[in-house]
């Protein structure tokens, strides 16, 4: 009755063809079929936001989308943000402002924040908080995340409080510069 279907979609800018079961979630297709393990499974029912991706310009919970639904559509995951050498300003801000601890919510937070900034380049703190309400973080208490997002809003950045924060970014830069491409791919 049900058999695998071929789905063709643009994922992170690349035309991609994959096979999946009709009942398989987009999250499962990304992680288990396409090995794009950035999007995370948290609640698997649309409450936690760890699986957030951008589908045709809209933020969605990939656990609540079927893989077969994205035929002909465009999906951006956290893997689609940075190049090999350079993080996006938003990602750099997450590093500089310590906007993560365990990191499990981070891919979803980044995609949610990106979708907010794509639509509303100058959000207020209240708008940032409201937009990120669907993304749960059990480590940071959210303030660092809000500050990181605000850091990329022109004219509203507050300097990172800790002296170590820029060093963290430097360390990451060093890792990216010294690691071979293969190592980065394996990581």
């Amino acid at each position: 009755m049900t058999h695998k279907q071929i789905v063709t979609a643009t994922i992170n800018g690349e035309l991609t063809e994959f096979l999946c079961e009709p009942h398989q979630s987009l999250l499962s297709c990304l992680r288990d079929v396409l090995s794009l393990t950035g999007a995370k499974e948290g609640c698997n029912d649309g409450n936690c936001g760890a699986c957030s991706v951008i589908l045709d310009g809209r933020l969605v919970n990939s656990c609540l989308v079927l893989g077969v639904e994205i035929e002909g559509r465009e999906v951006t995951t956290v893997e689609g943000l940075a190049g090999w050498q350079a993080l996006t300003p938003l990602q750099e801000a997450f590093v500089a402002y310590d906007a993560l601890q365990c990191g499990y919510c981070t891919p979803g937070m980044l995609m949610a924040a990106k979708s907010l900034l794509d639509r509303h380049p100058n959000p207020t703190d209240g708008e940032i908080r409201a937009w990120l309400a669907g993304n749960l973080c059990r480590c940071t208490g959210y303030d660092k995340i809000i500050r990181a997002v605000r850091a990329v809003v022109p004219g509203t950045a507050v300097a990172p409080k800790t002296a170590e924060a820029p060093e963290t970014a430097d360390v990451l830069q060093t890792v990216l510069e010294t690691a071979s491409v293969d190592q980065v791919k394996e990581a």
Partner: protein, 299 residues
């Protein structure tokens, strides 16, 4: 998740044929924010999900000053909230549409889905009842209009028959001197489900001195979103003001049949109905005052 088949027809007729063939073992898939969670939890035993988002009629928004508003059942909340016509003429609907879930749910959730999920707490259902909305339903025997006030028959149960598909939601053009609003009580600002909610629609006399018509609907205080028939009687001919709002609030409290559950107690909900009906009426009257003759009729 139990395996099921998936079809994405491009016409209403194809969708109805697919749904009718499988009967109770098929469901439409719009935003998926309820149905996929329910299927995953084993609430439904389905052989087929029919994705209705490739059907042009279900993803369209049409507004005409004579015919009113027709919203495709599968338009996402995010798209509805950004639509200038809805912002200008149906702010009372957007009050409810904009508070369903967070940003990622907004990107997928639909009015058709909210209605068919038939949750007692469905914010948009109460708002649509207050606006006097109708659901355009296509089925094996053709098309029919179902008043949204009588669409939900029990928690999760609707007036739909096997093979039926909600195509669109329809609303009259806004009358001059009319306004609507929806408010709810939630402990969290976002990503929450109503402890209680109230939608109000009012029409005032040209001078704004008396109510000529009104509709009030409640959420999360009965087995279905509830149309309060007696509230209109309580307001008709009255002058807008706290006395009239209190009478309508009392009628709503009499109609409400709240229960105790994890979100609140029956007593708290009974109290909230009074508070929320008054708030909704104040907001609706303020909008009616701003909606002078003619301004509501331009597309």
């Amino acid at each position: 998740m139990k395996p099921f088949a998936y079809e994405a027809p491009t016409s209403v007729d194809q969708a109805v044929t697919l749904l009718a063939e499988k009967g109770e073992r098929a469901r439409p898939l719009a935003g998926g924010t309820d149905i996929l969670v329910q299927v995953r939890r084993g609430f439904h035993n389905l052989d087929l999900l029919v994705d209705v988002k490739r059907i042009p009629e279900l993803v369209r928004i049409d507004y005409d000053a004579e015919e009113g508003l027709t919203l495709g059942a599968a338009v996402s909340c995010a798209v509805l909230c950004e639509h200038p016509t809805l912002q200008a003429h149906y702010p009372g609907l957007l009050d409810a549409v904009s508070i369903i879930g967070g940003a990622a749910i907004q990107g997928r959730a639909t009015l058709g889905g909210n209605l068919c999920n038939a949750a007692p707490s469905g914010d948009a259902i109460a708002a649509m009842i207050a606006l006097g909305g109708e659901a355009l339903v296509a089925g094996p025997e053709g098309r029919r209009l179902v008043p949204i006030a009588s669409f939900c028959t029990a928690p999760g149960v609707t007036a739909l028959r096997p093979g039926d598909l909600v195509v669109a939601l329809r609303f009259a053009p806004p009358k001059p001197h009319s306004g609507a609003a929806y408010v709810r009580f939630v402990p969290r600002g976002e990503m929450d489900i109503a402890v209680a909610g109230a939608g109000a629609w009012v029409a005032l006399s040209p001078g704004g001195t008396t109510f000529t018509d009104a509709r009030i609907a409640l959420s999360a205080v009965a087995p279905t979103p509830l149309y309060v028939e007696r509230a209109a009687e309580a307001l008709a001919g009255q002058a807008p003001g706290e006395d009239a709002y209190a009478r309508a609030a009392e009628a709503a409290q009499e109609a409400a049949k709240p229960i105790d559950d994890m979100r609140g107690t029956a007593a708290q909900r009974q109290h909230l109905v009074g508070v929320l009906v008054k708030r909704a009426l104040r907001a609706a009257v303020a909008r009616a005052g701003a909606n002078h003759a003619g301004t509501g009729m331009e597309a």
